[in-house]
């Protein structure tokens, strides 16, 4: 099965009933697969919108009817979605966005793999906020993490991003499809609770449109009733701080990772397609002194995990960008952080990574 198809199948298994999208390489197979599958399933809707702005808007509209809703895109489309991603954050709308990353900026390399949107997903819309972003490194993870994305979206009432890339999206591998997947729907509002009153975890209960709650939803700064209150600094600060903290405070609950060789001196920190090369170097070539941390959840960044490697002399970060996560990791450790950047579309070779270990002082 292809990674893009696995993501679509994972979404359907998770109960996704609404997909809105716009064709864009290298993500189009997700939409095509949904277009073929959804009309044969009762109570679902696939719609091709006029652009990615509209796709994201429709996904949010559908989410408010209680549907599990999703879109899929790549770089240029992702840029167009930024406006309504901010709206989804501000209105606490659960939804899933699959980004099959390609080379940028601009139209860039439509058919080549990249990880250049990993900061855009964190900071791309205006204002302060946090989101949840997952990064699959295999076709199996495309399936599993898409299911997980829906559960996290509902649990935290936030847009959740599957940050795959062209290599993983177009890769074909055998996968295991479980008979049943775990499904976590949003917590309903407590009796008499205001629609945007948070629970103890900072997340408000969710009630769908048409169920009698008469919820006014706005992208303006609002109070717990949902009423606009745009000039009160305290109101704005408490709302935005809550939107950030409901996710950042739960970052260890959200974290999904693999820690391999905790006593390693040369530790790869990796996510997405480069994980495959790291595993080759650490697990098959068994380069002495090496280990790795694979992040399946990239955002919120689980900085505590870096402490799982007490002997680390260097964190080596292979990325298909010019060192975006390298900077995030540097912020959380005194250990030297060494980027191994590769852009242009080719994956890292084992030699690239072995050379990085050597350069860091390791022996082959």
């Amino acid at each position: 099965m292809q990674g893009n198809i696995a993501s679509a199948e994972g979404a359907l298994a998770a109960g996704c009933t609404f997909f809105a999208g716009y064709p864009i390489t290298p993500s189009t197979e997700v939409a095509e697969h949904m277009a073929a599958r959804m009309p044969k399933m009762k109570g679902t809707c696939f719609i091709q919108m006029e652009d990615e702005i509209a796709s994201m808007a429709a996904v949010i509209g559908a989410a408010w009817t209680g549907a599990r809703s999703m879109t899929a895109t790549s770089g240029p489309g992702f840029s167009l979605m930024m406006e309504n991603i901010g709206y989804a954050v501000m209105t606490e709308t659960p939804c899933v966005l699959v980004n099959i990353q390609r080379g940028g900026p601009s139209t860039g390399q439509p058919t080549m793999a990249a990880q250049g949107d990993i900061m855009q997903v964190r900071f791309g819309s205006h204002g302060d906020y946090s989101i949840i972003a997952l990064a699959p490194s295999s076709v199996q993870e495309c399936y599993d993490l898409t299911v997980k994305a829906f559960n996290l979206a509902d649990r935290f009432r936030t847009p959740v991003f599957l940050m795959a890339d062209e290599a993983v999206g177009h890769m074909r591998e055998k996968i295991e499809i479980p008979d049943k997947v775990e499904i976590v729907r949003p917590r309903p509002p407590a009796d008499g609770a205001l629609p945007f009153a948070p629970g103890p975890d900072g997340v408000p209960g969710f009630a769908a449109f048409g169920t009698g709650h008469h919820i006014p939803v706005t992208g303006l700064t609002h109070d717990e009733r949902g009423y606009p209150d745009t000039t009160n600094p305290t109101r704005h600060e408490s709302l935005v701080r809550r939107l950030v903290s409901k996710i950042e405070d739960a970052r260890h609950e959200i974290a999904d990772y693999s820690v391999v060789n905790e006593d390693a001196e040369y530790v790869f920190v990796c996510y997405g397609a480069p994980v495959r090369t790291v595993r080759e170097v650490v697990e098959r070539l068994k380069i002495p002194g090496t280990g790795y941390l694979q992040l399946r959840v990239v955002w919120p960044f689980p900085e505590e995990l870096l402490k799982r490697f007490p002997s680390a002399r260097a964190f080596i970060v292979p990325e298909m960008n010019l060192g975006m996560m390298t900077r995030e990791i540097e912020r959380h450790t005194c250990v030297p952080v060494i980027p191994v950047s590769k852009i242009g579309g080719d994956l890292h070779t084992p030699e690239d990574l072995v050379a990085a270990v050597k350069a860091a002082g390791g022996q082959e």
Binding site: M49, E50, G61, H214, I215
Partner: protein
């Protein structure tokens, strides 16, 4: 008649004295009440601008969205749950400028929603900039020497793009407006009701209609009934001066989307 449909704890509203939007909201709520729709199953959606603040004052589920995108959000709501009734409030800038692409595609899909466009020929909320419906020669803060671009005719645009129901009235014609909105709500497919209305603060002030009544009189005296014009005008005759047609322009039954499955 609108009992229970207004969020009275949101009042006072933000509209300026003399604004036409309140009149239009009143007509729309009256029409909605006449449909007998369940308040719980009725959703109001809007974009950004003065017009788009309307849903916030109505006691239903509502989405006050991003600028120009109301129709795309409405498409998601209606396609995901066709049993909901969806009404969109928008303005000339929201619908015809930044939302122009969504507008023509929503008409093309003929999605079963009703759109009320409060066309005051100006960006009111941001202080009076020219819009795609600012008439030639009229003054705004971005057309200080008079608008030089030909405005959109929203009615013609909606008809060409495939909408099933299209009407135009003004904030003076409250009875006809209410009836037109009701006809739009009841007609399957995409319905557009354009309402020309006064913005004394941002448009009237710069265009010699300082008093709200000045512009209402202008609307009254320049609106020509479509049926009357078709009956009396010579072939090819142009509309005189600044006059414009009002009435029901299209009521048809092209294939629609966003309606519940019959099965």
């Amino acid at each position: 008649m609108n009992d229970g449909w207004l969020r009275e704890d949101r009042l006072p509203h933000i509209y300026c004295a003399g604004c036409g939007n309140g009149t239009i909201m009143n007509c729309v709520l009256e029409a909605v009440a006449k449909t007998g729709w369940d308040q719980t199953k009725t959703i109001f959606i809007s974009g950004i601008g003065c017009s788009s603040r309307a849903p916030g004052y109505i006691m239903t589920d509502s989405l006050h969205t991003t600028h120009g995108r109301a129709l795309a959000f409405a498409t998601g709501v209606k396609m995901a749950n066709p049993s909901l009734n969806v009404v969109v409030f928008t303005g000339d800038g929201d619908l015809a400028a930044i939302g122009g692409n969504h507008f023509i595609h929503a008409c093309r899909r003929n999605i079963d929603i009703t759109v009320v466009c409060m066309n005051n020929h100006i960006y009111g909320m941001t202080g009076g900039q020219g819009s795609p419906t600012t008439p030639l020669g009229k003054t705004s803060t971005t057309t200080p020497y008079g608008a030089v671009e030909t405005p959109f005719d929203l009615v013609e645009l909606a008809i060409a793009a495939g909408a099933n129901y299209v009407a135009r009235w003004t904030s003076y014609h409250v009875k006809q407006l209410t009836d037109a909105v009701l006809a739009g709500l009841n007609n399957p497919g995409f319905s557009l009701v354009e309402v020309r209305c006064q913005c004394p603060t941002s448009y009237g002030r710069r265009n010699r209609y300082r008093e709200p009544t000045d512009y209402i009189n202008y609307l009254k005296s320049n609106a020509i009934l479509k049926e009357k014009w078709e009956r009396t005008a010579a072939p090819g005759q142009k509309l005189p001066g600044e006059s414009f047609l009002v009435g029901e322009f299209v009521k048809r039954d092209r294939p629609v989307t966003g309606v519940p499955d019959e099965t």
